[in-house]
Symmetry: C2
């Protein structure tokens, strides 16, 4: 019971900070995505492919959340986009305090789109509002078609689902229909894009949609 109470007060404090960040983002006219997935679903690859296609269309920046290493921030910076690395030192999700520190390094007024890449974790990041406009879920087909029903919270809350690594479908047992059906049941409003960062398949429709959304 004490654990639940404390958990609630931590989430309340985080929600308060998220509300402040949401106001700041709106005042600066920047749209914000919170990118969430399992480790290895391909968040950073999706980010690289997306940023390349957004060049000249939107001014972007990235906040990179990792437990250890700054490898992802370096990959993103190589795309010519400002990238701020947060190393959580063991923490399993990003929170408002970390975002607050990262924002000090960014000029929000110059941006159209800020993408926050969360720690690879299908569970904990979902509970921590970062002030984003939308959560984007990345699911790789190699994780299996049972994941949306086994980890429903993210798939319920994500405005967009990116189903990645579809180039591997011929070599694995994965029922795409089941993924689509389960996610539609969990969130009928969700936009779904099937794609492969390896072949490039499906990336243009996603980036076109994202451009429209960010400008809207």
């Amino acid at each position: 019971m004490a654990e639940i109470e404390v958990g609630r007060s931590i989430l309340e404090a985080n929600d308060k900070l998220a509300g402040q960040h949401r106001e700041r983002f709106a005042a600066s006219g920047v749209k914000v995505l919170n990118l969430i997935s399992s480790p290895g679903a391909g968040k950073t690859s999706v980010l690289e492919q997306t940023l390349k296609r957004l060049q000249g269309r939107l001014n972007c920046a990235v906040i990179e959340g990792d437990i250890q290493t700054d490898e992802d921030a370096r990959r993103v910076a190589a795309c010519g986009v400002p990238a701020v690395q947060i190393q959580t030192q063991g923490a399993c999700h990003l929170d408002g305090v970390m975002i607050n520190e990262a924002l000090a390094a960014l000029d929000l007024a110059s941006l159209d789109l800020l993408i926050i890449e969360n720690v690879g974790n299908l569970v904990c990041p979902v509970d921590f509002d970062l002030g984003e406009d939308m959560k984007v879920a990345v699911l790789s087909v190699t994780e299996g078609d049972d994941k949306p029903s086994k980890y429903p919270a993210l798939f319920q809350q994500a405005g967009v689902l990116l189903v990645n690594k579809v180039d591997l479908l011929p070599y694995i047992d994965c029922d795409m229909e089941r993924i689509h059906r389960t996610c539609h049941q969990l969130n009928p409003e969700q936009k779904v894009f099937d794609l492969s960062c390896r072949t490039g398949e499906g990336l243009d429709p996603w980036v076109d949609w994202l451009t429209g959304w960010a400008k809207g």
Copy 2:
């Protein structure tokens, strides 16, 4: 600061329960594994393939941790092995209290090996000792060769690493050498088995080793 203190007291309470379970396991002569991985790395498939090969060699039972659904427990029960499902209802890891409840449904004295399949999460389960003799990490090659350095805690603590889905290596960019090298740096004592639940490759050496370990 309050958060850190509370976190510590939760972990201390869990450690105490884990110590009691560890004594109970030892008194019953049952060896216990704590199976940890990302969602979709293939824990349940590894479990199915392992249990089939252990038939007639070891008396096994399984505790299945999932956030939602009892799909995994049904898959394990289909292997003819007692399976107890824990649905964590949103919690991102198993803890001592959950294990305590599950143990009420098992006859430990009749078992040689108890395998606990944790919630799919590369981060949080590592902090919660369940009284196991050994943590077993499952990493699928599709998650990428950077995962051990980005999520080092599990790979440091796991006595065994199972590198799964090696049948997909021809279709992806994954440097097996890097996985082996990083894990060896993190834990030079770790036993490593490369395997594929789809082709069966590498499963016999792992199960032979496990049989010897459980009887030892």
